[in-house]
Symmetry: D2
Subunit: 419 residues, 4 copies
Amino acid sequence: MTDTQHRTPAVTDYQEVRDLTEALAEPLSAEDQTVQSMPDVSPTKWHRAHATWFFETFLLVPHLKGYQPFDPAFGYLFNSYYEALGKRHPRPDRGLITRPGVAEIGAYRAHVDTAVTHLLEATNLAPELGELILLGLHHEQQHQELLLMDIKHVLSRNPLQPGYRPLAIAAPKSPRSVHWIDHPGGLVEVGHQNDGFAFDNEGPRHRVWLYPFALADRPVTNGEWQAFMDDGGYRRPELWLSDGWAALQASGATAPLYWRCLDGSWTEFTLGGSEPLDPSRPVVHVSYYEADAFARWSAARLPTESEWEAVAAGYPVEGRGLNLDRLRPETGPAGDFGFFGDVWEWTTSAYLPYPGFRPAAGAVGEYNGKFMVGQHVLRGGSCATPAGHVRPTYRNFFPPGAQWAFSGLRLARALGGAR
Amino acid sequence: MTDTQHRTPAVTDYQEVRDLTEALAEPLSAEDQTVQSMPDVSPTKWHRAHATWFFETFLLVPHLKGYQPFDPAFGYLFNSYYEALGKRHPRPDRGLITRPGVAEIGAYRAHVDTAVTHLLEATNLAPELGELILLGLHHEQQHQELLLMDIKHVLSRNPLQPGYRPLAIAAPKSPRSVHWIDHPGGLVEVGHQNDGFAFDNEGPRHRVWLYPFALADRPVTNGEWQAFMDDGGYRRPELWLSDGWAALQASGATAPLYWRCLDGSWTEFTLGGSEPLDPSRPVVHVSYYEADAFARWSAARLPTESEWEAVAAGYPVEGRGLNLDRLRPETGPAGDFGFFGDVWEWTTSAYLPYPGFRPAAGAVGEYNGKFMVGQHVLRGGSCATPAGHVRPTYRNFFPPGAQWAFSGLRLARALGGAR
Amino acid sequence: MTDTQHRTPAVTDYQEVRDLTEALAEPLSAEDQTVQSMPDVSPTKWHRAHATWFFETFLLVPHLKGYQPFDPAFGYLFNSYYEALGKRHPRPDRGLITRPGVAEIGAYRAHVDTAVTHLLEATNLAPELGELILLGLHHEQQHQELLLMDIKHVLSRNPLQPGYRPLAIAAPKSPRSVHWIDHPGGLVEVGHQNDGFAFDNEGPRHRVWLYPFALADRPVTNGEWQAFMDDGGYRRPELWLSDGWAALQASGATAPLYWRCLDGSWTEFTLGGSEPLDPSRPVVHVSYYEADAFARWSAARLPTESEWEAVAAGYPVEGRGLNLDRLRPETGPAGDFGFFGDVWEWTTSAYLPYPGFRPAAGAVGEYNGKFMVGQHVLRGGSCATPAGHVRPTYRNFFPPGAQWAFSGLRLARALGGAR
Amino acid sequence: MTDTQHRTPAVTDYQEVRDLTEALAEPLSAEDQTVQSMPDVSPTKWHRAHATWFFETFLLVPHLKGYQPFDPAFGYLFNSYYEALGKRHPRPDRGLITRPGVAEIGAYRAHVDTAVTHLLEATNLAPELGELILLGLHHEQQHQELLLMDIKHVLSRNPLQPGYRPLAIAAPKSPRSVHWIDHPGGLVEVGHQNDGFAFDNEGPRHRVWLYPFALADRPVTNGEWQAFMDDGGYRRPELWLSDGWAALQASGATAPLYWRCLDGSWTEFTLGGSEPLDPSRPVVHVSYYEADAFARWSAARLPTESEWEAVAAGYPVEGRGLNLDRLRPETGPAGDFGFFGDVWEWTTSAYLPYPGFRPAAGAVGEYNGKFMVGQHVLRGGSCATPAGHVRPTYRNFFPPGAQWAFSGLRLARALGGAR
């Protein structure tokens, strides 16, 4: 979505992304794929259809001569939020759509795949169409993570606490103690370099002045979070932002979203079902309010997104990312964690346009820009983020009260005297 | 549920009722059977499970030696409102339960059917157990009608307006004009005679003083309702009860629940999908507020439940009731209607205990009595009421704003000078 | 408002009622008179203005030649619910009207009093105007009770718990134990005889069939209510109507509206401020749900309104009614209570039209009839009901969850075998 | 609240600020001063008491030997949001407190004034106490503006649309056309210099990198806003942030908060009552969502707070500020406006801590820091901001949907090629 020239995806690249979506839906029954457990959540089958609608709407209808839409009504049902494309089904009502069913949505996907593959196999595909397909694949990867976040929430609301699929057993490990990575501050450059795919919100690359700071070399763990709770973390208003404290009083929460205390022991609902809490794993499903309170309790703070990027850009983007047998953040083999692929890390930065930001032209311009208010940026990617979908400049964003993303935190602190 | 001795149902009676539930679910996909479109609505598969839970809980667990519950968790999931049986899944969250799925619920039904059949085939079944089974069957019949009401609402919320199943085409007919059936008033007896099955709320039979009145010989039709609308019926506060007018302002409704005006023509969403409005059919899915306003506009009133019963008891309970090919109220072959089996008819009577009413003992006593506040009585049965499930003394009840039942109205008026 | 000829009130009658309103407002500051503590409550100054508007609108404007309305804008501000008179200020926003202030409303009252007195002093006042003035005075008396109910609620929401005015000290007494008054049942007549003023909803007088029953000779006391609470009354769902139990879970209430437990002792907020709970006084400010649960716990029931009237009509309407030094229900001098003037007593009867009921013609017809849904009838009058404003046929009404009226209860039970 | 040494206020300074509060309340009746029109609004008398409580709580109780609090209950009633000081009356219920009345609050103010004056007249007042008094005066000045914002909202909800006080007539003028003030960008310093009083959130002073930009030399006017409306500004989703569009759909707004269209002409509710809309005045009472949409429609953007400060710091802080005869933003004598004292100007900057921010110690530390989420910064001061209360570094803040502050906007745009 930026100005650079991108490589047109190969047919196999296309198929690989599309296949992963189907693999993610595979453990889910027709019933599982239909239900919406809160307005923010979308049904699995809606994700499968919407990612397909994206290709049909932005690529096939305008650019593939003679293309016949699978069903004209789907434009209304599966448009997410593109006002420029007309009226659409209200978001909180996505769970009311029992028909089309999962089988018909499978047929929809196949119909569109045939047409896109046909385009990709053409010898002289215009570069801007290649770019649209690439955007569509990154869009679908975002929905792969959303699909996992959303079905986790759906299943969590079932008193039987069913798992999404069996996960590999992970023995608790001792996490390395935190080391602090120092940064001298000064004038740094952040934002995307135009050297590969990026969303429009990652640019333009620009200068930011930083003051000396240090960043923890790993996220906060469940064990550290328990210490916060034991020290009255959820009962002490002086640790909380005013809005956060109000949200806490309204919800009555005393722990992260998926934690439960049964007979004195804490368990965590994971995509593998309920598990005993592992103190060595990164804490996940905390809101910005919770993360900020924890940081204040720790006599530290959250980093800004520029600080995060200035440090993380020097580390390899290998991460653990999405792995169907894992699907939870975990301590790495050497008791360590990287910067990418365990939990999304809240930053103190509000989600705002970079200097000189311009949304893409046309309906696709609604992709990011119109959400730039009332949210905070998260960085780094999670255990539900598909491989190849994360980079140091990637800006994820959620409202400060959101907990259902795979969101955790990493501490920062000022270096030097005054700050 | 009353004191009389009832015939123990035959195995074939049992199977017939149970089979009808499955036949009603048959046109519905797993997706259709899972969704809850408002707190008052329950998913199809929940109805299938709950009616089964009723037999398991009240009959098999206490009375069949060695019976193993199909799944101990189902007691929590499928209890509707029996406080005496402990905590249960919240009603507004029934649509969040994707698992057990429809297949597992089918297995649950089979498991319970085997056990009940076993009991029924025993030579010396205690009469009180026969009575419990009879109650269970009438309970399941109630849920058959609820299943149809509820799935109609679910499908109506889908912008594609899919039908539940194809219905037989019914050509519009000219309804007979209304004739008034006079009643001289005086001391009458109403309530159940103890001459067959009845719910506890239908008794005891008791005396009521009536003043002379007349009752229309058929329900109000769609055509008559259109005349009400054309005369400003939904815009004239003087026609409405205060609560009804407030509800109307809040909803902005200008027609019955399932009516839509497309390009100047009215359509009605039926279980067969959207159909052109047939002026000859009984109007259906109106609230008590709407029915009361219509009656005031007609310079008439709704009957009391005693008035209704005093007249209807003299007519045959043949009705049209539930017929899978029809599933909508219709004018009869001779342009007429009976008292039973087209639409439930609102009465001005609040749903209150009859003099001397006593709920059944035990948890079953929560069946009816605890709902005796804030509701109005409807009489007569509808096109979704199973055959054999209606009698002149039957008291259905809904809150005055409810529209999703198959509810219509029949007019009454006072006879004589003063009243 | 019924057909009978009524005596035109004397100027002194008029002035007496109007003066009482001002006497009720006298202990209240401008601030007190302005605030609305919930949508059901109206500010004191609104009551003062509305009762005045009633005379201006229904009497002076149509019938006094040359009358100039005090302020044309008041028609919008002080119309309560008469749709026939056009748009009006929304009820929940009555507390937003800081201007006109209390002084201007005093001037409004004087302006209207001058004009009404002028009419009353005319030698040949048409009887129908005399009847309108009589209606206006009874209307104002209703608002005198509402004023006290409402200001009690306003003051109760102040953490300082200020009293409305100092009340005479009442030493606790021992209430007489309950005696049961038997009634043989049969065909009785209830409703107003047309032998004096009555609201339209009290007629027509009509026959009702009663079964033998007994009625307690006094209301339930605070002490008896404490026994109910001590026996788990607020924790046992089997005692409650389903809607009542839901309301209880939502509110978390464990006692009547104005009770508070401080350091283990119960206090009651009265118009004299907070007082230690007196077990001998009638319990007051309970909802229909609470009254019904108490009756079930007592193995009794509430009476119907016909039962209540059939008995109470034989007792003197002397009662204790509104007395500025008392303003709370109390045990009488001989440890007894009457049927009138301590607490309004909930009945099981829904508030519905009597057979042959016809509202008065014109806008005044909105007075009662349009509220005949979703409410229950209370009988008897309270310590806040002005003298001369109660009779055996008087029907007060509130929704089943309402608590801010001076509402209590009296038990009934069936006599004889079957019922 | 910052580290610098501040001058202790003179007794006359103290009295001048305190007197202005009373002067602001003077046109208001006891009724006006009591009502709360929405949860964000506080009653006038609450502001008068709360500003007094601030001195009593933070200064007199801990530091004046022998000081007797006026009323111990006031600590509960008039604490705004200081969690460290214990429980307090809920904010949405401030309008329920009819007692203490305005007279008693006047006595409270006098009681505290005597004690503070006594302290100020002492020869050896500790500098930290002088600083506390200074903070208390700036705090009271903030509440002076809030008092005006709040009473404007209260009076606006009265259908009679009464004015707060008569304002001087202001003839419409022709505003100068916009000139753009260029800024070359680069590394600039923003934040408070520690050279006089400032709130803690204004520091520390720090470096920020800016790109070249231009800032309009005056705010947007009513006339320009009308052009936006005429061009469909409130009907075109492509102009709005997603949250802003959703808020617009929910409210149905088609114009700024206090605008009304009567018979085709626009009026504006001001503190002087309803006035014809003057196209030359700065637009006021628009939300961040509205301001952002207007800027997008103008092919411009809002400035960041650093951009705003980098330019405005070079202009005189004379402004028009609070003037009891004006109380509305107006075009200056030469058809111009300054940067200070007409309308608060929305910036794109989220309200977040500056690098190195540390809240003051103790309960006073809750003053600013805990609100640093979910809000946007506004700069410049308004027609309701008291003289001497504004400086270039002042950071006001409100949620993006708020409209009841005197909030307007000034446009910015990037200079140079890339941005």
